[in-house]
Protein backbone atom coordinates (compact mmCIF):
# COMPACT_ATOMS: atom_id res chain seq x y z
CA UNK A 1 0.00 0.00 0.00
CA UNK A 2 2.88 2.27 0.75
CA UNK A 3 4.85 1.05 -2.25
CA UNK A 4 6.00 4.00 -4.27
CA UNK A 5 6.37 2.21 -7.61
CA UNK A 6 2.67 2.82 -8.42
CA UNK A 7 3.10 6.51 -7.68
CA UNK A 8 6.22 6.64 -9.85
CA UNK A 9 4.35 4.96 -12.68
CA UNK A 10 1.45 7.37 -12.24
CA UNK A 11 3.72 10.39 -12.41
CA UNK A 12 5.55 8.93 -15.41
CA UNK A 13 2.28 8.34 -17.24
CA UNK A 14 1.10 11.80 -16.31
CA UNK A 15 4.23 13.34 -17.78
CA UNK A 16 3.79 11.26 -20.89
CA UNK A 17 0.20 12.41 -21.28
CA UNK A 18 1.09 16.08 -20.80
CA UNK A 19 4.11 16.03 -23.09
CA UNK A 20 2.27 14.12 -25.79
CA UNK A 21 -0.62 16.55 -25.52
CA UNK A 22 1.87 19.31 -26.23
CA UNK A 23 2.59 17.57 -29.52
CA UNK A 24 6.10 16.33 -28.72
CA UNK A 25 7.53 12.90 -29.52
CA UNK A 26 8.60 10.01 -27.26
CA UNK A 27 12.15 11.37 -26.99
CA UNK A 28 10.78 14.42 -25.24
CA UNK A 29 8.66 12.25 -22.97
CA UNK A 30 11.77 10.36 -21.84
CA UNK A 31 13.72 13.58 -21.46
CA UNK A 32 11.10 15.25 -19.29
CA UNK A 33 10.69 12.08 -17.22
CA UNK A 34 14.45 11.93 -16.69
CA UNK A 35 14.64 15.60 -15.74
CA UNK A 36 11.86 15.13 -13.20
CA UNK A 37 13.60 12.03 -11.85
CA UNK A 38 16.87 13.92 -11.57
CA UNK A 39 15.14 16.79 -9.78
CA UNK A 40 13.58 14.36 -7.34
CA UNK A 41 16.98 12.82 -6.72
CA UNK A 42 18.58 16.23 -6.12
CA UNK A 43 15.86 17.14 -3.62
CA UNK A 44 16.18 13.73 -1.98
CA UNK A 45 19.95 14.13 -1.79
CA UNK A 46 19.60 17.55 -0.17
CA UNK A 47 17.11 16.17 2.37
CA UNK A 48 19.33 13.18 3.12
CA UNK A 49 22.30 15.44 3.72
CA UNK A 50 20.28 17.76 5.96
CA UNK A 51 19.16 14.77 7.97
CA UNK A 52 22.63 13.16 8.09
CA UNK A 53 24.32 16.31 9.34
CA UNK A 54 21.82 16.64 12.16
CA UNK A 55 22.06 12.93 12.91
CA UNK A 56 25.85 12.99 12.94
CA UNK A 57 25.79 15.79 15.48
CA UNK A 58 23.24 14.00 17.61
CA UNK A 59 25.06 10.67 17.46
CA UNK A 60 28.42 12.21 18.25
CA UNK A 61 26.86 14.11 21.14
CA UNK A 62 25.35 10.93 22.57
CA UNK A 63 28.66 9.13 22.28
CA UNK A 64 30.19 11.90 24.34
CA UNK A 65 27.25 12.07 26.78
CA UNK A 66 26.20 15.49 25.49
CA UNK A 67 22.88 16.57 24.09
CA UNK A 68 23.97 18.08 20.81
CA UNK A 69 21.87 20.73 19.05
CA UNK A 70 18.68 21.35 21.07
CA UNK A 71 17.58 24.91 20.40
CA UNK A 72 16.27 25.14 16.87
CA UNK A 73 13.18 23.00 16.58
CA UNK A 74 12.39 19.83 18.51
CA UNK A 75 15.73 18.38 19.62
CA UNK A 76 17.44 20.64 17.13
CA UNK A 77 15.78 19.01 14.12
CA UNK A 78 15.88 22.11 11.96
CA UNK A 79 19.32 23.18 13.13
CA UNK A 80 20.86 22.09 9.82
CA UNK A 81 18.36 24.14 7.84
CA UNK A 82 19.36 27.16 9.87
CA UNK A 83 23.00 26.32 9.22
CA UNK A 84 22.35 25.95 5.50
CA UNK A 85 20.63 29.34 5.40
CA UNK A 86 23.56 30.83 7.27
CA UNK A 87 26.01 29.32 4.79
CA UNK A 88 23.97 30.72 1.91
CA UNK A 89 24.42 34.22 3.29
CA UNK A 90 28.15 33.92 3.82
CA UNK A 91 30.43 35.91 1.60
CA UNK A 92 31.92 33.93 -1.28
CA UNK A 93 35.55 34.85 -0.92
CA UNK A 94 37.76 34.16 -3.89
CA UNK A 95 41.33 34.63 -2.72
CA UNK A 96 43.51 36.76 -4.96
CA UNK A 97 46.06 34.12 -5.86
CA UNK A 98 43.79 31.27 -6.88
CA UNK A 99 43.55 29.77 -10.33
CA UNK A 100 40.06 31.15 -10.87
CA UNK A 101 38.61 28.78 -13.45
CA UNK A 102 39.64 25.61 -11.71
CA UNK A 103 38.83 27.06 -8.27
CA UNK A 104 35.30 27.65 -9.46
CA UNK A 105 34.74 24.28 -11.10
CA UNK A 106 36.24 22.07 -8.39
CA UNK A 107 33.15 22.06 -6.12
CA UNK A 108 30.94 21.54 -9.18
CA UNK A 109 32.89 18.44 -10.25
CA UNK A 110 32.91 17.05 -6.72
CA UNK A 111 29.20 17.50 -6.20
CA UNK A 112 28.14 16.27 -9.64
CA UNK A 113 30.29 13.15 -9.21
CA UNK A 114 28.60 12.46 -5.88
CA UNK A 115 25.14 13.00 -7.34
CA UNK A 116 25.47 11.19 -10.66
CA UNK A 117 25.91 7.91 -8.77
CA UNK A 118 22.17 7.93 -8.01
CA UNK A 119 21.30 7.19 -11.63
CA UNK A 120 21.54 3.51 -10.84
CA UNK A 121 20.99 3.15 -7.09
CA UNK A 122 17.95 0.92 -6.44
CA UNK A 123 15.97 2.81 -3.79
CA UNK A 124 13.15 0.32 -3.78
CA UNK A 125 11.02 -1.91 -5.95
CA UNK A 126 10.74 -0.06 -9.25
CA UNK A 127 12.54 2.93 -7.76
CA UNK A 128 15.66 2.99 -9.87
CA UNK A 129 16.15 5.73 -12.41
CA UNK A 130 17.90 3.50 -14.95
CA UNK A 131 19.17 0.00 -14.27
CA UNK A 132 22.41 0.43 -16.22
CA UNK A 133 23.93 -2.84 -17.34
CA UNK A 134 27.34 -1.79 -16.03
CA UNK A 135 25.69 -0.68 -12.76
CA UNK A 136 28.30 -1.10 -10.07
CA UNK A 137 31.18 -0.39 -12.44
CA UNK A 138 29.44 2.85 -13.44
CA UNK A 139 29.29 3.86 -9.80
CA UNK A 140 32.97 3.05 -9.30
CA UNK A 141 34.00 4.98 -12.37
CA UNK A 142 31.88 8.08 -11.79
CA UNK A 143 33.14 8.38 -8.21
CA UNK A 144 36.71 8.65 -9.49
CA UNK A 145 35.76 12.19 -10.47
CA UNK A 146 35.67 12.98 -6.77
CA UNK A 147 39.44 12.56 -6.73
CA UNK A 148 39.78 14.89 -9.69
CA UNK A 149 37.54 17.42 -7.95
CA UNK A 150 39.60 17.48 -4.80
CA UNK A 151 42.87 17.62 -6.72
CA UNK A 152 41.45 20.60 -8.61
CA UNK A 153 40.45 22.25 -5.33
CA UNK A 154 43.80 21.55 -3.72
CA UNK A 155 45.78 22.79 -6.68
CA UNK A 156 43.78 25.87 -7.59
CA UNK A 157 43.67 27.25 -4.03
CA UNK A 158 47.37 28.11 -4.18
CA UNK A 159 47.57 27.35 -0.50
CA UNK A 160 50.07 24.97 1.05
CA UNK A 161 47.58 23.31 3.37
CA UNK A 162 45.02 22.92 0.62
CA UNK A 163 47.57 21.43 -1.73
CA UNK A 164 48.98 19.01 0.80
CA UNK A 165 45.45 18.08 1.91
CA UNK A 166 44.34 17.53 -1.67
CA UNK A 167 47.26 15.30 -2.50
CA UNK A 168 47.06 13.31 0.71
CA UNK A 169 43.39 12.87 0.08
CA UNK A 170 43.93 11.71 -3.48
CA UNK A 171 46.66 9.28 -2.45
CA UNK A 172 44.44 7.86 0.26
CA UNK A 173 41.32 7.55 -1.86
CA UNK A 174 43.11 5.79 -4.70
CA UNK A 175 44.96 3.48 -2.31
CA UNK A 176 41.71 2.26 -0.84
CA UNK A 177 39.97 2.17 -4.19
CA UNK A 178 41.87 -0.96 -5.21
CA UNK A 179 40.81 -3.17 -2.25
CA UNK A 180 37.29 -1.80 -2.62
CA UNK A 181 37.12 -2.71 -6.30
CA UNK A 182 38.56 -6.15 -5.57
CA UNK A 183 35.98 -6.76 -2.82
CA UNK A 184 33.28 -5.88 -5.36
CA UNK A 185 34.90 -8.23 -7.91
CA UNK A 186 34.39 -11.10 -5.46
CA UNK A 187 30.68 -10.26 -5.21
CA UNK A 188 30.41 -10.00 -8.99
CA UNK A 189 31.84 -13.51 -9.25
CA UNK A 190 28.73 -14.68 -7.40
CA UNK A 191 26.20 -12.41 -9.08
CA UNK A 192 27.53 -12.79 -12.64
CA UNK A 193 26.11 -9.40 -13.42
CA UNK A 194 26.99 -5.77 -12.81
CA UNK A 195 23.43 -4.50 -12.86
CA UNK A 196 22.35 -3.18 -9.45
CA UNK A 197 18.71 -4.16 -10.01
CA UNK A 198 19.57 -7.77 -10.76
CA UNK A 199 21.96 -8.01 -7.83
CA UNK A 200 19.10 -6.99 -5.53
CA UNK A 201 16.65 -9.43 -7.07
CA UNK A 202 19.12 -12.29 -6.53
CA UNK A 203 18.93 -11.71 -2.78
CA UNK A 204 15.19 -12.01 -2.25
CA UNK A 205 15.46 -14.26 0.81
CA UNK A 206 17.32 -13.48 3.99
CA UNK A 207 19.68 -16.45 3.58
CA UNK A 208 20.54 -15.35 0.04
CA UNK A 209 22.17 -12.14 1.18
CA UNK A 210 25.69 -12.04 -0.15
CA UNK A 211 27.11 -11.11 3.24
CA UNK A 212 26.80 -14.77 4.24
CA UNK A 213 28.98 -15.84 1.32
CA UNK A 214 31.23 -12.79 1.36
CA UNK A 215 31.91 -11.94 5.01
CA UNK A 216 35.56 -11.16 4.34
CA UNK A 217 34.64 -9.19 1.24
CA UNK A 218 32.19 -7.15 3.28
CA UNK A 219 34.78 -6.30 5.92
CA UNK A 220 37.26 -5.22 3.24
CA UNK A 221 34.56 -3.15 1.59
CA UNK A 222 33.54 -1.55 4.88
CA UNK A 223 37.07 -0.46 5.76
CA UNK A 224 37.88 0.70 2.23
CA UNK A 225 34.59 2.58 1.97
CA UNK A 226 35.21 4.37 5.25
CA UNK A 227 38.55 5.48 3.90
CA UNK A 228 36.98 6.47 0.57
CA UNK A 229 34.72 8.98 2.28
CA UNK A 230 37.62 10.35 4.32
CA UNK A 231 35.96 9.47 7.60
CA UNK A 232 37.77 9.01 10.88
CA UNK A 233 39.91 6.95 11.46
CA UNK A 234 40.94 7.80 7.91
CA UNK A 235 40.30 11.54 7.97
CA UNK A 236 43.92 12.59 7.49
CA UNK A 237 43.24 14.79 4.46
CA UNK A 238 41.41 17.23 6.66
CA UNK A 239 43.21 16.58 9.90
CA UNK A 240 42.31 19.90 11.49
CA UNK A 241 45.30 19.97 13.75
CA UNK A 242 47.82 19.53 10.92
CA UNK A 243 46.26 20.78 7.75
CA UNK A 244 43.66 23.34 8.83
CA UNK A 245 40.81 22.12 6.63
CA UNK A 246 42.72 20.31 3.92
CA UNK A 247 41.66 21.01 0.36
CA UNK A 248 38.68 23.14 1.42
CA UNK A 249 40.81 25.64 3.35
CA UNK A 250 40.28 28.46 0.86
CA UNK A 251 36.60 27.79 0.21
CA UNK A 252 33.82 29.69 1.94
CA UNK A 253 30.05 29.95 1.97
CA UNK A 254 28.14 27.89 -0.58
CA UNK A 255 31.30 26.68 -2.30
CA UNK A 256 32.41 25.10 0.92
CA UNK A 257 28.90 23.76 1.41
CA UNK A 258 29.14 21.88 -1.91
CA UNK A 259 32.17 19.91 -0.71
CA UNK A 260 30.40 19.28 2.56
CA UNK A 261 27.27 18.12 0.74
CA UNK A 262 29.27 15.82 -1.50
CA UNK A 263 31.04 14.31 1.48
CA UNK A 264 27.84 13.42 3.28
CA UNK A 265 26.28 12.23 0.04
CA UNK A 266 29.25 9.93 -0.48
CA UNK A 267 28.70 8.52 2.96
CA UNK A 268 25.13 7.67 2.04
CA UNK A 269 26.31 6.25 -1.29
CA UNK A 270 28.80 3.79 0.17
CA UNK A 271 26.19 2.64 2.68
CA UNK A 272 23.68 2.23 -0.17
CA UNK A 273 26.17 0.16 -2.19
CA UNK A 274 26.85 -2.01 0.85
CA UNK A 275 23.11 -2.49 1.28
CA UNK A 276 22.68 -3.46 -2.36
CA UNK A 277 25.68 -5.77 -2.64
CA UNK A 278 25.68 -7.46 0.74
CA UNK A 279 22.37 -6.94 2.55
CA UNK A 280 19.75 -7.74 -0.05
CA UNK A 281 19.01 -4.17 -1.09
CA UNK A 282 15.36 -3.26 -0.69
CA UNK A 283 14.24 -6.85 -0.02
CA UNK A 284 12.50 -7.38 3.30
CA UNK A 285 9.19 -8.46 4.80
CA UNK A 286 6.16 -6.37 5.86
CA UNK A 287 7.52 -2.87 5.31
CA UNK A 288 7.54 -1.18 1.89
CA UNK A 289 10.73 -1.81 -0.08
CA UNK A 290 11.99 1.77 -0.01
CA UNK A 291 11.68 1.77 3.75
CA UNK A 292 13.83 -1.33 4.02
CA UNK A 293 16.41 0.30 1.80
CA UNK A 294 16.47 3.40 3.97
CA UNK A 295 16.64 1.40 7.21
CA UNK A 296 19.55 -0.72 6.01
CA UNK A 297 21.42 2.20 4.48
CA UNK A 298 20.98 4.44 7.51
CA UNK A 299 22.17 1.59 9.70
CA UNK A 300 25.28 1.49 7.51
CA UNK A 301 25.74 5.24 7.90
CA UNK A 302 25.36 4.82 11.65
CA UNK A 303 28.22 2.29 11.64
CA UNK A 304 30.40 4.86 9.85
CA UNK A 305 29.54 7.43 12.52
CA UNK A 306 30.21 4.89 15.24
CA UNK A 307 33.71 4.34 13.79
CA UNK A 308 34.35 8.03 13.93
CA UNK A 309 33.72 8.33 17.64
CA UNK A 310 35.44 5.08 18.55
CA UNK A 311 38.77 4.99 16.77
CA UNK A 312 41.62 7.49 16.89
CA UNK A 313 43.02 8.83 13.65
CA UNK A 314 45.68 6.77 11.89
CA UNK A 315 49.06 8.20 10.99
CA UNK A 316 49.65 8.72 7.29
CA UNK A 317 52.23 5.93 7.09
CA UNK A 318 49.94 3.52 8.92
CA UNK A 319 47.16 4.48 6.58
CA UNK A 320 49.17 3.62 3.48
CA UNK A 321 50.69 0.42 4.82
CA UNK A 322 47.27 -0.72 5.94
CA UNK A 323 45.87 -0.35 2.44
CA UNK A 324 48.76 -1.88 0.54
CA UNK A 325 50.21 -4.41 2.95
CA UNK A 326 47.07 -5.71 4.61
CA UNK A 327 43.84 -4.92 2.76
CA UNK A 328 45.13 -5.56 -0.76
CA UNK A 329 46.59 -9.04 -0.06
CA UNK A 330 43.44 -9.84 1.92
CA UNK A 331 41.28 -8.82 -1.04
CA UNK A 332 43.30 -11.12 -3.32
CA UNK A 333 42.92 -13.98 -0.85
CA UNK A 334 39.19 -13.29 -0.77
CA UNK A 335 38.96 -13.52 -4.56
CA UNK A 336 40.88 -16.80 -4.64
CA UNK A 337 38.73 -18.25 -1.84
CA UNK A 338 35.56 -17.16 -3.62
CA UNK A 339 36.80 -18.74 -6.84
CA UNK A 340 37.57 -22.00 -5.04
CA UNK A 341 34.24 -21.92 -3.24
CA UNK A 342 32.28 -21.42 -6.44
CA UNK A 343 34.24 -24.18 -8.13
CA UNK A 344 33.71 -26.68 -5.31
CA UNK A 345 30.09 -25.92 -4.46
CA UNK A 346 28.99 -25.44 -8.04
CA UNK A 347 25.52 -26.94 -8.47
Amino acid sequence: MLELDKLVKLVGDGIEAVVTALGLGPTWVTLVQLIVAALVVVVFAALVVLFLVWWERKVSARFQMRLGPMRVGWHGTIQTIADALKLLQKELITPANVDRGIYFWAPVVTFVAAMAVYVTVPFGKGLIVRDLNIGILYILSITTFTVIGLLMAGWSSNNKYALLGGFRSAAQVVSYEVPMALAIVAVVMLTQTLSMGEIVSQQAKFYQWYIWRQPLGFLIYLVAATAECNRTPFDLPEADSELVAGFVTEYSGMKFAMFFLAEFLNMFTVAAIATTLFFGGWNGPFLPSWMWFLIKTLAGVFVLMWFRWTYPRLRVDQLMSFAWKFLLPLAFINIVLTGLGIYIFRP
Binding site: L31, I142, L163, V174, V178, E250, W324, I335
Partner: protein
Protein backbone atom coordinates in the same frame (compact mmCIF):
# COMPACT_ATOMS: atom_id res chain seq x y z
CA UNK B 1 20.54 0.18 -23.88
CA UNK B 2 22.30 3.25 -25.20
CA UNK B 3 19.23 5.25 -24.23
CA UNK B 4 19.78 4.24 -20.58
CA UNK B 5 22.86 6.39 -20.61
CA UNK B 6 20.78 9.42 -21.57
CA UNK B 7 19.90 9.37 -17.88
CA UNK B 8 23.56 9.85 -17.04
CA UNK B 9 23.78 12.84 -19.36
CA UNK B 10 20.64 14.38 -17.84
CA UNK B 11 21.97 13.83 -14.32
CA UNK B 12 25.32 15.39 -15.16
CA UNK B 13 23.67 18.39 -16.80
CA UNK B 14 21.15 18.89 -14.03
CA UNK B 15 23.82 18.45 -11.35
CA UNK B 16 25.93 21.18 -12.89
CA UNK B 17 22.84 23.36 -13.25
CA UNK B 18 21.88 22.84 -9.61
CA UNK B 19 25.32 23.84 -8.36
CA UNK B 20 25.49 26.89 -10.60
CA UNK B 21 22.03 28.07 -9.55
CA UNK B 22 22.98 27.62 -5.90
CA UNK B 23 26.12 29.67 -6.43
CA UNK B 24 24.13 32.36 -8.18
CA UNK B 25 21.62 32.44 -5.34
CA UNK B 26 24.43 32.67 -2.81
CA UNK B 27 25.97 35.47 -4.83
CA UNK B 28 22.68 37.38 -4.74
CA UNK B 29 22.00 37.12 -1.03
CA UNK B 30 25.51 37.21 0.36
CA UNK B 31 27.52 40.35 1.01
CA UNK B 32 30.62 41.03 -1.02
CA UNK B 33 33.27 43.27 0.44
CA UNK B 34 36.62 42.01 -0.68
CA UNK B 35 39.82 43.58 0.50
CA UNK B 36 43.46 42.74 0.10
CA UNK B 37 43.86 41.12 3.50
CA UNK B 38 40.70 39.06 3.19
CA UNK B 39 41.70 37.84 -0.23
CA UNK B 40 45.18 36.84 0.79
CA UNK B 41 46.04 33.18 1.05
CA UNK B 42 45.29 31.65 4.44
CA UNK B 43 48.40 30.62 6.25
CA UNK B 44 47.37 30.48 9.91
CA UNK B 45 47.50 34.22 10.29
CA UNK B 46 51.03 34.58 9.04
CA UNK B 47 51.73 36.61 5.95
CA UNK B 48 51.96 33.99 3.23
CA UNK B 49 55.24 33.76 1.43
CA UNK B 50 56.25 32.14 -1.80
CA UNK B 51 53.92 30.15 -3.96
CA UNK B 52 52.19 26.96 -2.92
CA UNK B 53 52.90 25.57 -6.36
CA UNK B 54 56.16 24.08 -5.33
CA UNK B 55 57.45 20.61 -5.81
CA UNK B 56 55.93 17.84 -3.89
CA UNK B 57 57.00 14.80 -2.05
CA UNK B 58 57.83 11.81 -4.20
CA UNK B 59 56.07 9.42 -1.83
CA UNK B 60 52.60 10.32 -3.08
CA UNK B 61 53.80 9.71 -6.58
CA UNK B 62 55.08 6.20 -6.03
CA UNK B 63 51.78 5.14 -4.52
CA UNK B 64 50.01 6.64 -7.51
CA UNK B 65 52.30 4.68 -9.84
CA UNK B 66 51.52 1.40 -8.10
CA UNK B 67 47.86 2.31 -8.01
CA UNK B 68 47.66 2.65 -11.81
CA UNK B 69 48.92 -0.90 -12.25
CA UNK B 70 46.44 -2.38 -9.80
CA UNK B 71 43.59 -0.29 -11.14
CA UNK B 72 44.15 -1.75 -14.59
CA UNK B 73 44.21 -5.18 -13.03
CA UNK B 74 40.92 -4.60 -11.23
CA UNK B 75 39.31 -3.53 -14.50
CA UNK B 76 40.54 -6.74 -16.12
CA UNK B 77 39.12 -8.76 -13.24
CA UNK B 78 35.58 -7.50 -13.77
CA UNK B 79 34.85 -9.24 -17.11
CA UNK B 80 36.55 -12.33 -15.75
CA UNK B 81 34.33 -12.26 -12.65
CA UNK B 82 31.16 -11.99 -14.75
CA UNK B 83 32.13 -14.89 -17.01
CA UNK B 84 33.78 -16.96 -14.29
CA UNK B 85 30.96 -19.36 -13.43
CA UNK B 86 30.35 -20.35 -17.00
CA UNK B 87 34.00 -21.07 -17.74
CA UNK B 88 35.09 -23.47 -15.01
CA UNK B 89 38.52 -24.59 -13.91
CA UNK B 90 40.51 -23.22 -16.82
CA UNK B 91 39.35 -19.68 -16.11
CA UNK B 92 40.19 -20.10 -12.46
CA UNK B 93 43.74 -21.27 -13.13
CA UNK B 94 44.22 -18.55 -15.71
CA UNK B 95 43.15 -15.93 -13.23
CA UNK B 96 45.37 -17.42 -10.52
CA UNK B 97 48.33 -16.99 -12.85
CA UNK B 98 47.25 -13.41 -13.62
CA UNK B 99 46.88 -12.51 -9.97
CA UNK B 100 50.06 -14.35 -8.95
CA UNK B 101 52.16 -12.38 -11.43
CA UNK B 102 50.81 -9.11 -10.04
CA UNK B 103 51.18 -10.21 -6.43
CA UNK B 104 54.80 -10.87 -7.30
CA UNK B 105 55.00 -7.22 -8.36
CA UNK B 106 53.44 -6.13 -5.08
CA UNK B 107 55.92 -8.25 -3.12
CA UNK B 108 58.75 -6.76 -5.15
CA UNK B 109 57.60 -3.25 -4.33
CA UNK B 110 57.23 -4.29 -0.71
CA UNK B 111 60.75 -5.73 -0.52
CA UNK B 112 62.19 -2.68 -2.22
CA UNK B 113 60.66 -0.64 0.54
CA UNK B 114 58.56 1.69 -1.62
CA UNK B 115 55.41 0.79 0.30
CA UNK B 116 57.00 2.39 3.33
CA UNK B 117 56.09 5.98 3.91
CA UNK B 118 59.43 7.03 5.34
Amino acid sequence: MVSDFAAVAVFLGLGVGFVLITFLLAKLVSPSAPNAIKNSTYECGETPFGSAWIQFNVRFYIFALIFVVFDVEAVFLFPWAIAYRSLGLFAFVEMLVFIAILIFGLLYAWRKGVLKWY
